[in-house]
Structure formats: structure tokens, C-alpha cells
Amino acid sequence: MTERKIVIPGEIIIENTEALPGENTIKKDDKIIAQKYGLAEISDKLIKVIALSGTYIPRRGNTIIGEVENVLFNGWLIDFNGAEKGFLSLTEVPMYVNKDGLEEVLKIGDMVTAKIWNINKRGTDLSIKSRGLGKIDGGIIVKVNSNKVPRIIGKEGSMVNLIKENTGCNLTVGQNGFVHITGESIEKELLAKKTVLFIEKNSMDSGLTESVTKIFTKN
């Protein structure tokens, strides 16, 4: 049993409770107080606030899509719409790269899918060593609010799979709010794009899956 409601910073979510304060909340004299504007999820054991807005906060293990902003002597600087830039080191590329030939692999303006493998004081370190990561060739990139990404993915990827099955497109969803769509034809790609933007706009609605299915039956 979880109850949901929108809370504002400083608002008392619940009083006289045994529950533990989760994300974006603190506990003060048996009261759980929100520390961020968002959707409070109230259950018997844990109370947390899910952010509804704001810039993307990088987390270790996230897959992100970003743009190469600069080529340095030992790697690339990637802009992924976070507060700070990410750094993709030469050693995190799964091939041999000549020290003078960094631009042959990735040049300024290229889009790249990467994974965050470490976050420290100096910045965010990226890697493209796993499968499915690397430079993006072709397709469409759609930018959405990064807080709506869980909605686009759905429960255990249900929403993404729904779009994949109905459009035949391949979708890569970056946690920072960039969605990469590749398909057989532009029409199918545009349909997938439309669906993604529809989900972003109507993310708060209940019965989202049904209304998304309706888009596909209409076309």
C-alpha cells in the first residue's frame, strides 16, 4: 500500500510514524519532513520524495547520451546536460587509439552513448567499454525532462518495449533525458518520437499504457 501526494519543501508529510525517512526527506521528532518539491511516496516502512523537476543528477551506473564538447590530449569532454561535464578517458575506449588520432574515433559534435562508471570530486568519469555503448550513427535524438525517464522506461521496461514492438524502432533511453531512436523508416522513427513526447507530457496520468496503446491503434 503506497499513497502518493505532491509535497513542497518543509512540509510535514506524516506525523507520529515509525517509518524511516528515505530520499529527500528528514526525520525530526517523529515527523517526516520533505526537503524537496516532488511526489511523496508513503508506505508503512519508508517515506521518500521523488523529484518532479530539476536538472539531471548523475549517478554511478547510469547510461547517458551526450555530445562531445572538446577533444583533449587524453580523452574527450562530454556534455550530457548535467551540472558538470563528463570525462571519457582514452583507456575507457574498447580499441587501440593513436595518441594523435583521437579525432578519428570521436570528434566535436558527435553524439555518444556512455556509462557513468565513477563519480568523484574532480568530476564524472564515463566509459564506452560495454555492449551498446559508443558513437551514435543516424537516427533521431529526442530530449525530454530527465525526471520523466522512469515513466518512459516503464515498469521493468514495459513502456519502452511497447514502443519497440509497435514501431519496430530501437530505443536507447539515457538517464539524463536523451532518447535515441533508430528505425527502418523516418515515419516509424517520427511515430516513436511522438509517443515519447506524449509520455513526457502526460506522465502523471493514470492508465498511461492504455492511452499509449491508443496512439498505435489510431495509426
Binding site: 513542497i8 519543501p9 518543509g10 526537503q35 523537476s53 536538472t55 551540472a83 558538470e84
Partner: protein, 239 residues
Amino acid sequence: MTNEFKRPDGRKLTEMRPIAAQVGIIPNADGSAMFKSGKTIAYAAVYGPKEHHPRNKRNPKQGTLRCTYNMISFSVNDRIRPGLSRRSTEISKITEWAIAPALNLKSFPGMVIDVHINIIQADAGTRCAGINAAVMALAHAGIPMKDMVSSVSAGKLDKTLVIDLDKAEEDFEEGEGPTDIPVSMTHSGEVTHLQLDGKINKEELKEAINMAKTACEEIYEIQKKALKNVGKLIEGDKK
């Protein structure tokens, strides 16, 4: 004596001007809000947290709040010169100090949040309206915060304590003249900002702050309602 005093616009002594608020009005900003108090209208836009430039101003211990208060040239009767002035720089700084205690600055070290406050129409109490709008915009932008801040100006006209002065009252010239006391406080009742322009004695100041506290409570309810209904114009109760 207090009951005989008539305010220029016929309001009761503890009655604020009609207030209204709206959240999410600037689509390109990370968070935005509008706050209206009578004829005073303030717009606030929040960008960030983002990289702090210039780098030498960066604080590795905690994040920085950077406010910019600006009065649009057509906001007052006589056109004011656009751009920074002595007054706007000072109010920007005051706004930072009023809001910063309510933020969890420690959660984004080395970064900055930019808050741009624009006064579209001015009829006194612009710094208070600016603070109210900025706090809503900050919450809307998903900035970690401990509490909300509400701001109102209390005042004394001749010998009568009143709340939420407008321009006509600020220019009041009878008797002891006007005293303007802008107060900002968190919802839990901690004062984060207090200015005083004029003269007032200790007891009256205490009473003025108590009056501001009641008014702030009213503003808080509007701020809360506006944040829970993003994109809708929320108006205060008409009296």
C-alpha cells in the same frame, strides 16, 4: 487611536493587498514563478545547479546562490534606466541572504544556482514579491530546500502599525511619516531578513513582526497551493 486611522486605499490595518501566484510560467527555465501583490508583479526564473563561472568564485565547501534583481524600465511611472543600479545590486544581495538559509547548499558543492528576478510592475514591496516568487521558482526547480520563505513588509504610518505598504503609503507624509519594515521568514517562523527604514520603538517593532508573521502564513498557503497546481493562477481569498 488605531481605529480612526484610514488607509489611503481603504484597507483594514492588517489586510494585505490581493495576492496571486503562478508556478511554471517560463518554459525554458529549470524553475519559474510569478508573484503578484496588488499592482506589484514579480517574475522569477531559476537556472541550475550548474558549473560556477568564474572559477575563482567557486566554493568547494558548498554551493552558491546568485540572485539578480532587476526592475524593468517600464515598471514605474517615470522610465528607469535599464541595467544594474546601486539599488538593484543591493536588493539582489539582500534576496540572496533572505533565501540562502532555507536552502541545502551543501548538497551541490562548487556549483551555482542562478535566480533572475524581474519586476514587471512596481507599486512598493517589490523586494518582498521578488523573494516570494524566487522561493517558489527554486522549489519548482527541484533545489534541495529545508523550508519555504515568505516575505512581506510591515510598516508604521504616523503612529499606526499596518501591513503590506503600497506606494501611496510609502510616500505618506503626515505626522511621523512612514516606516517600512520588510520581513522574510521561513514557515517555521525563523526570520531570515529584516530591514528597517524610518523610526520605531522596541514594542512596536515586536508587534510589527508579529503582524508580518500572520501575513506570511497567508502568503505561504498561496505559495503551497501554486506549487501543487503547476501552471494554474492561484489567487488569494477576496475580502
